[in-house]
């Protein structure tokens, strides 16, 4: 029983990581109906940027964290301006291919600039562990859980309660109509990419003590975050967290109880089942197309 609970807790921690990356997918999808296949790589880049500020330039951890997140916001805006905006409105497939290409580019550029060794960022809290009875949870994993929950709550309120959030939802429904209503569509899209890249930056910095910083870390985690985003229903912010938690718990339990190999495919099997039975995800809404 204790084994099970311990696995459950580490599954939840892992799930929050997936949820945090899935949140980036969901934000961009929610506002522009584009899937950013480079989301995992943006997260990786966030880790490297934070490494540069904290370890190479020797800044204080929290200051470095802040600068890294702001830098990621700028990078997100730059990507939107030069890569995404020229093809906004063209078929979905082109945009997806561009983000795949972007992922390739970021991965090899990061490898060329920072090298291919595993790098580590020392966080002030990366040593201790939290004990509840016999259960153990490392502080660095706890930090991921706390930050994920806070970010998701804030972004959920932002999208549903503020004027800007409403403008973003309107943009995703119908860009032309949003434009007629006086919404600055280009600026909204640019802002969404900035927010999404900042979320990726936060994820990258928080994951640095857990997974190390390496140019390939984004690809692996990004591909695991897909099932999470789909499971939650691609356009739903709380769905990203719930989907991430389910995927994380299933993966951990499959790794513990099932034979070797199931751990890696279990998320994808769940994904295919969800797509077969309920393509709109747990929290998604799917209407019918009218001619």
């Amino acid at each position: 029983m204790l084994d099970f609970l311990q696995q459950l807790v580490s599954g939840l921690a892992l799930g929050c990581i997936y949820g945090l990356i899935a949140l980036g997918f969901v934000l961009i999808y929610k506002a522009t109906e584009v899937i950013n296949f480079a989301q995992g790589d943006l997260m990786m880049l966030g880790g490297f940027v934070a490494y540069t500020y904290i370890t190479i330039l020797g800044l204080n951890y929290w200051l470095g964290f802040l600068f890294a997140v702001l830098t990621m916001g700028l990078i997100g805006m730059t990507i939107e301006r030069f890569v995404v905006r020229p093809i906004l409105g063209y078929p979905l497939f082109s945009i997806i291919m561009v983000t795949i290409g972007l992922g390739f580019l970021l991965r090899s550029l990061a490898g060329m600039i920072w090298g291919t060794d595993d790098l580590k960022i020392e966080a002030p809290f990366s040593e201790g562990v939290l004990r509840i009875g016999d259960l153990v949870l490392a502080y660095d994993k706890l930090s991921v859980i706390v930050v994920t929950v806070i970010l998701i709550a804030v972004l959920y309120l932002f999208f549903n309660r503020t004027r800007l959030g409403t403008a973003m939802r309107a943009t995703s429904e119908n860009m032309l109509a949003a434009y007629y209503m006086g919404i600055p569509v280009k600026r909204v899209v640019s802002l969404v990419w900035a927010i999404s890249a900042m979320v990726a930056g936060v994820a990258g910095v928080l994951l640095a003590p857990i997974t190390f910083v390496h140019s390939n870390v984004g690809l692996a985690l990004g591909l695991k975050a897909f099932p999470a985003a789909v499971l939650g229903g691609f356009g739903s912010i709380p769905g990203a967290l719930v989907g991430g938690l389910i995927i994380g718990v299933v993966e951990t339990l499959a790794g513990f109880y099932l034979p070797q190999g199931w751990k890696d495919v279990a998320p994808y099997i769940i994904l295919l089942l969800v797509l077969l039975l309920r393509p709109e995800g747990l929290f998604g809404a799917l209407g019918r197309k009218k001619v």
Binding site: E33, P86, G101, L105, S108, V230, G261, V265, Y268, R288
Partner: protein, 383 residues
């Protein structure tokens, strides 16, 4: 300028629209027929890879370019074809048996993958095919009694009607070329049949196709099955050409390479698949050339411009360091994809059509002829 004067509906579905095509394709065929005797073994081997990639490109073109369904999982179909061939060959079956068997088995798997496609659109379909590819990769690595897991499988030379065809021989070159030509002719015939028309109708508008009485489910599954079966055939050839297969050869990267083939070539005609295959296969030699020859060339150029010996050497070392950095291939792939989608969305074949039209219409060519329609994004959630 050539005007094709049509007097009959039959003329619309002719394979060659005018007599000139016989000459140009005949010339191409003659060049390909003598090529292996004239070029070195390295180039011959590259051409074989071009043929194999082109077969996959044609398969993907049927699915993506003609039916409008996405797939980033075609490496999995290639793997199923390759492993079927290796497994049956190890049991002593000849090429004539396992080559069609690989196609049929992969086609059946493709049809099964196509079933979820009936309910999925756009991104969801892409994600489903990616997950399918991951599952196949993992199964290949774990099902050791059949696939030998991560140790991989050796594939012996082709035994074709009692003759041994080694993987580097000219006979293997002609075998691949022959299969490519058959696949192309088959696809052309498919596309001018009612099935092909239905595919194109589905691509252009599902709703319209449905209201014209096209059974979406049937044709989508059929498109997946045909595309997968052709990829499976290519998988057999791939296994023989590599002579060794293991699960890590059929990764997401390979699937993306296949997608690049049709994006770079131009996703609206079979010419695109061939041009894209040539481009992708030639990227590797290009990188080698950049690494080995370019630094020296630039150095001697800068010597010519009067930069001192030391400066030239520094330039050479610097360039060499850049081009031998690990991961250069990924950067080049990324740049190629981004550049093509942004600046040449119709691909190499589109560029060829533009150049051709420019000369045909000489002083009257307008850029706007090929401009893409830009639409404002509307929600996909309401389809």
């Amino acid at each position: 300028m050539r005007f094709i004067f049509k007097t009959d509906y039959e003329q619309d579905i002719k394979l060659f629209q005018h007599g000139g095509a016989w000459w140009s394709y005949g010339l191409l065929f003659a060049v390909l027929a003598v090529a292996p005797y004239l070029i070195g073994s390295y180039l011959q081997s590259q051409l074989v890879f071009v043929f194999i990639y082109a077969i996959v490109g044609v398969a993907l073109m049927i699915l993506v370019g003609f039916t409008g369904q996405g797939s980033i999982g075609h490496a999995a179909f290639l793997a199923i074809g390759a492993y079927t061939a290796a497994f049956l060959q190890a049991r002593g079956y000849p090429f004539e048996v396992y080559f069609p068997a690989a196609g049929i088995l992969t086609g059946v798997v493709g049809a099964i993958v196509g079933i979820p496609a009936l309910r999925l659109h756009g991104i969801y379909l892409l994600i489903a095919t990616i997950s399918f590819a991951f599952i196949v990769e993992e199964v290949l690595a774990r099902w050791e009694s059949v696939t030998h897991g991560n140790e991989g499988m050796r594939v012996r030379a082709v035994e074709f009607f009692g003759q041994t065809v080694s993987r580097d021989s000219n006979s293997f070159y002609f075998l691949c070329l022959g299969i490519l030509v058959l696949v192309i002719i088959g696809t052309l015939n498919l596309m001018r049949s009612p099935t092909g028309r239905a595919f194109i109708a589905i691509r252009d508008s599902e709703t319209a196709a449905k209201s014209m009485g096209i059974d979406l489910a049937k044709y989508k599954v059929r498109s997946f099955a045909i595309s997968a079966a052709i990829t499976g055939l290519a998988g057999t050839l791939y296994a023989h050409k590599m002579s060794f297969i293991s699960p890590e050869m059929f990764t997401l990267l390979l699937s993306i390479e296949f997608i690049m083939v049709i994006i770079i070539g131009g996703a609206f005609g079979l010419h695109g698949a061939i041009l894209g295959a040539i481009f992708i296969v030639m990227v590797d030699p290009l990188i080698t050339m950049l690494k080995d020859d370019l630094p020296g060339m630039v150095a001697s150029l800068s010597r010519g411009f009067g930069v001192g010996e030391e400066g030239a050497r520094a330039v050479q070392d610097r360039l060499y360091a850049i081009f031998s950095a690990p991961g250069l291939k990924g950067a080049i792939y990324g740049l190629i994809i981004i550049m093509f989608v942004l600046f040449e969305p119709m691909g190499l074949y589109g560029r060829w059509l533009k150049i051709k039209l420019y000369f045909q219409l000489f002083p009257l060519y307008k850029k706007a002829t090929f401009r893409r329609q830009k639409t404002y994004v509307k929600s996909e959630r309401n389809r």
